[in-house]
């Protein structure tokens, strides 16, 4: 199950707060405030086959990779080869060449075999049903939600970024009440908190209501619309629709006001969906000070990763989009002087079966490898452990190479959030299962 929270926000958009900030009580319009941090999620919908995103080239992995992946195996000649800081060889998919360069430049790290977990689980425990595992494994919807809520068991009405936003609001870490979570990819559970909710805006889009002038008739009509938004009809869906439009109208003013101060970026973004989304995020980061934001979480996405057949061709169209858009975004954060202040990371439903399907694709699996990018990232390193690439081996749930994760979403998220400024004492509220894992955090940040 998944849900949205359209109701409660802490405070309402306050023109007063913004005005104070704009007129000098706070540092005026510094492009990168010293205490600005942003997390940028890039969700790869459909389940990215990260077995082909990054491939360990040591014999213990690459030999079984070549045999078990059969028609999906990538030869080293078709890889962007890198070595990590220890000198161990890895290959990025050749169409992730920009990301391979960022890895070499130590701006990008890999976190291996991350997935939804309730607690650590072994193959024997999984097969013997002796340990709690997340609900409905291998289902898109469920595992998307688990990535977004970091709750594997049961039905969480809030997402982990939303719970972070709750903390940010409670601690007044932002000086305005503009939402901490902003999605350029529509409504998303990840950004819904217990007391806060996200704003969704299309890349290049506007939330402004058209058709109003200063004429008395026009203002009367606007008043009529506005008054109705405050009318409690008693019908819950009417209330919910009112609250969404109401929030849209109040945040529209803050966003349009801030963006009017933005200057064009020199960085050229690719003309793709993800490129446009990340360009919009970069523009909003540019005006974070005018918006009154010290902490922001952005949500972007790219779909069509559900590669049951013809996978190699599909990845050949998707991976350049990912690589080029992420690289441009990193360039833009450098241009804005905030590369140290912005961390970008991937999420995806699940990894895919190591064993191919008969149609040169792969089926739904579990633990996968993820990318973390930014000036604060300990780049050029692999965190976590790659599984043993053996079908039916110690890391497989069955015989098709559905890896049992060895790092939980909780640990991955807690590392990101700790850098973001969430103290250890608040992490269990954001990641309720974190206590089930020996190490609360990995070391790819901070």
């Amino acid at each position: 199950m998944f849900s949205r929270r359209g109701f409660i926000r802490i405070g309402s958009a306050s023109v007063g707060t913004l005005a104070l900030r704009r007129f000098g009580l706070m540092p005026a319009l510094a492009q990168s405030g010293p205490d600005y941090r942003a997390l940028v999620c890039v969700f790869l919908f459909g389940g990215n086959d990260s077995n082909n995103t990054i491939i360990p080239l040591d014999d213990a992995h690459y030999k079984p990779y070549l045999s078990a992946r059969a028609g999906l195996a990538v030869p080293t000649s078709a890889m962007a080869q890198v070595t990590d800081v220890t000198g161990a060889p890895y290959g990025f998919h050749v169409l992730l060449t920009e990301l391979a360069s960022l890895f070499t430049n130590k701006e990008l790290a890999v976190v291996a075999n991350v997935g939804s977990l309730v607690q650590p689980v072994t193959r024997a425990q999984y097969q013997g049903r002796q340990a709690a595992v997340p609900n409905n494994l291998f289902s898109h919807l469920d595992q998307q939600q688990q990535w977004q809520t970091s709750v594997g068991q049961g039905n969480s009405p809030t997402g982990w970024a939303g719970r972070v936003a709750d903390y940010v609001a409670a601690q007044k870490m932002n000086s305005s009440s503009f939402p901490t979570v902003l999605s350029v990819a529509g409504n998303v559970l990840e950004g819904i908190g217990a007391n806060t909710t996200e704003i969704a805006v299309n890349p290049g889009g506007s939330l402004a209501l058209a058709g109003f002038s200063s004429s008395a008739a026009s203002q009367a009509r606007l008043n009529a619309l506005t008054n109705l938004l405050n009318f409690n009809s008693g019908v819950s869906l009417v209330q919910a629709a009112n609250q969404t439009l109401s929030m849209s109208m109040s945040d529209a003013k803050a966003l349009a006001g801030a963006l009017s101060q933005a200057t064009a970026l020199k960085t050229q973004f690719p003309k793709t969906s993800l490129g446009a989304q990340l360009e919009q995020v970069a523009q909003i980061i540019q005006v974070q000070s005018a918006l009154g934001m010290s902490r922001q979480i952005f949500f972007c996405s790219l779909g069509s990763f559900d590669t049951h057949t013809g996978e190699l061709n599909t990845l050949n169209t998707l991976y350049p989009q990912v690589s080029q858009a992420l690289a441009a975004f990193y360039d833009a954060t450098q241009e804005l002087g905030v590369a140290q202040n912005v961390t970008t990371f991937t999420e995806s439903d699940f990894n895919r079966t190591f064993q191919p399907t008969s149609g040169d694709g792969s089926d739904h699996a579990w633990g996968g490898h993820h990318l973390v990018l930014g000036g604060a990232v300990k780049g050029g390193q692999i965190f976590g452990q790659f599984p043993t690439f053996e079908l039916g081996g110690p890391d497989d749930t069955d015989t098709r190479g559905r890896w049992i994760p060895t790092t939980s979403i909780d640990q991955y998220g807690a590392t990101l959030c700790s850098w973001f400024g969430i103290p250890d004492t608040a992490l269990p509220t954001v990641f309720p299962n974190l206590q089930n894992f020996a190490a609360a955090k990995l070391r790819f940040l901070g």
């Binding site: 849900s3 291998f138 008693g234 439009l245 945040d251 049951h308």
Partner: protein, 524 residues
């Protein structure tokens, strides 16, 4: 059957239409409210003509007439464009769909067909040729009032679905090559089209085991085996092409068996059901479909979603149970009889309760107009004259509903989507701060600007009422709001109307305030 607006009533929801008199028997003409409510549930939106038609025939008579109609088509599309490349332009398909919705006589069939297509999803995002879509859409049109079991087989063997979820050319696994049958269709047919993830009681509540836990409908091993049972299908051979083991994509006709690629071993599928070894591809497919139809969960799973699409996001368990009971048995021992199911959904006391205006509004009833329903209702209510160049088919894409192109097999929105308090509200998944503003701006364009330069809207029918605010609101309520309007909306709209200067401006102000209101956006 219009009656004067009643202003100043004490109740916060005033009654604009004549109340039906419960004691006066069936000869009494249906109220405007009852007729328009049915039309918001069973058509692409009420119009004065449609309201009168329902009133003349009564609910049963109108349904019976609609069950007989099959008048709309989406024409076949060319395979190649003028340059000899694959014709991937689906806009003529989208345009025909909207034209049918706005003007077609077979309104109920279209509504049900669309609801079914939101369950059995094929998306133009990955199936690109335009000619794949008219035959796919006709399956829902032609099976909308047939049997669900027939629809299951028809869609399973439809080549667009075969391409989308990869049943086409899903060859049996070859151990020597290290491959396995593709699990995509097996999994999603169960999860999304027939039974869902957990077993359900007849009333839609989760069936629980002795420790109080939900019971999964199937295991991963059963998905793997069902995938094996569904191997061995390929596209029909194109005309003048020799048929091969794996034919290339061809979207006319049904897929055909390719027995050499069918896994004939025995399998254990959902319900721990053993599929006998040695069957043909079609025998295995029929076995699988019969097994799915025999699962007790399919009736509440499908019934609940159809109720959500047509009537209310959060049906009571009793409502689900009544409809699911009809799905299981139409009274003559037949399960999956869609005509009986649709009748049960639309005539259920819960669907019809608010026909009685004297009852207070049920706070949990109704559903947000999905973008397409908003757009078609707007076009029908404003007497839109669509032409062969109309581009209004594109409006839904601004609101998260690009026709024939949902972002994934999970459709435009999920039946599981919930409000924070756990209330199901599927359409709200695509109602964001962005699309809420965009809806208001579509209303603005329709009323004050140009919605689409090739689609003429006509609100002249409202002009004769312009000089009298109460009459104007009454007529707008008649067309758009089941001839009922809350006092608050009346008051807000009145203020806006009275600030407007001339007749046209008064009509525009009233329409804008009503059509942007959440009271209109949520169908009660």
């Amino acid at each position: 059957m219009k009656s004067a607006i009643i202003f100043g009533a004490l109740a916060s929801w005033s009654l604009l239409s004549a109340a039906p008199d419960a004691a006066s028997g069936p000869q009494v003409v249906l109220s405007d409210r009852a007729a328009s409510r049915l039309l918001d549930q069973a058509s692409w939106g009420p119009t004065p003509a449609a309201i009168q038609e329902v009133q003349e025939k009564g609910i049963a008579g109108w349904l019976n007439q609609q069950f007989q109609l099959n008048t709309s088509d989406i024409p076949d599309q060319l395979l190649l464009d003028s340059t000899g490349k694959s014709n991937n332009d689906v806009t003529p398909v989208q345009r025909a769909f909207i034209q049918n919705a706005v003007t077609g006589a077979d309104q109920l069939r279209q509504r049900v067909a669309f609801a079914l297509s939101e369950i059995w999803v094929v998306s133009n995002v990955s199936v690109r040729p335009a000619y794949a879509f008219p035959p796919y859409w006709r399956l829902f049109r032609d099976n909308a009032f047939g049997n669900y079991r027939d629809l299951m087989k028809a869609v399973t063997l439809n080549p667009a679905m075969g391409a989308y979820l990869n049943l086409a050319n899903n060859n049996k696994g070859v151990p020597a090559k290290g491959t396995a049958a593709n699990e995509n269709y097996a999994r999603e047919m169960m999860q999304l089209f027939t039974v869902g993830l957990t077993q359900l009681n007849l009333d839609g509540s989760p069936a629980l085991d002795s420790s109080g836990k939900a019971i999964p409908t199937y295991t991963q091993a059963q998905v793997t085996d069902m995938a094996r049972a569904l191997t061995g299908w390929t596209y029909a051979a194109a005309p003048n092409a020799a048929s091969k083991v794996n034919n290339p994509a061809y979207y006319f006709g049904q897929m055909i068996p390719s027995e050499t690629e069918h896994d004939t071993g025995s399998k254990i599928i959902i319900g721990n059901t053993a599929v006998p070894a040695g069957q043909t591809a079609e025998q295995d497919l029929d076995f699988v479909l019969n097994t799915l139809m025999a699962q007790p969960t399919i009736a509440p799973f499908v019934s609940r979603q159809l109720i959500q699409h047509l009537v209310t996001s959060n049906p009571s368990s009793a409502y689900i149970a009544r409809v699911a009971g009809v799905f299981q048995n139409n009274g003559q021992g037949v399960s999956g009889d869609m005509m009986a199911v649709i009748t049960a959904i639309l005539t259920d006391p819960e669907a019809r309760a608010a026909d009685n205006p004297n009852l207070p509004p049920n706070p949990g009833f109704g559903h947000l107009r999905e973008p397409l329903l908003f757009v078609t209702n707007l076009l029908r209510g404003l007497n839109a004259a669509l032409t062969s160049t109309s581009a209004v088919y594109n409006l839904g894409s601004q609101l998260g509903q690009n026709l024939f192109a949902p972002s994934s097999v999970f459709s435009y929105f999920s039946p599981m989507y919930q409000m924070e308090n756990g209330t199901p509200a599927p359409e709200f998944q695509i109602y964001s701060t962005q699309t809420a503003a965009s809806r208001a701006n579509i209303v603005n364009a329709a009323i004050f600007g140009t919605l689409d330069k090739n689609t003429k809207l006509d609100y002249s029918e409202f002009l004769p009422f312009a000089s009298d605010t109460a009459s104007l609101l009454d007529h707008i309520a008649y067309v758009f709001l089941h001839h009922s309007m809350s006092l608050e909306l009346q008051q807000a709209a009145t203020t806006a109307v009275n600030a407007a200067t001339d007749a046209q401006a008064r009509v525009q102000a009233a329409l804008y305030v009503v059509l942007t209101s959440s009271e209109y956006q949520v169908i009660q």
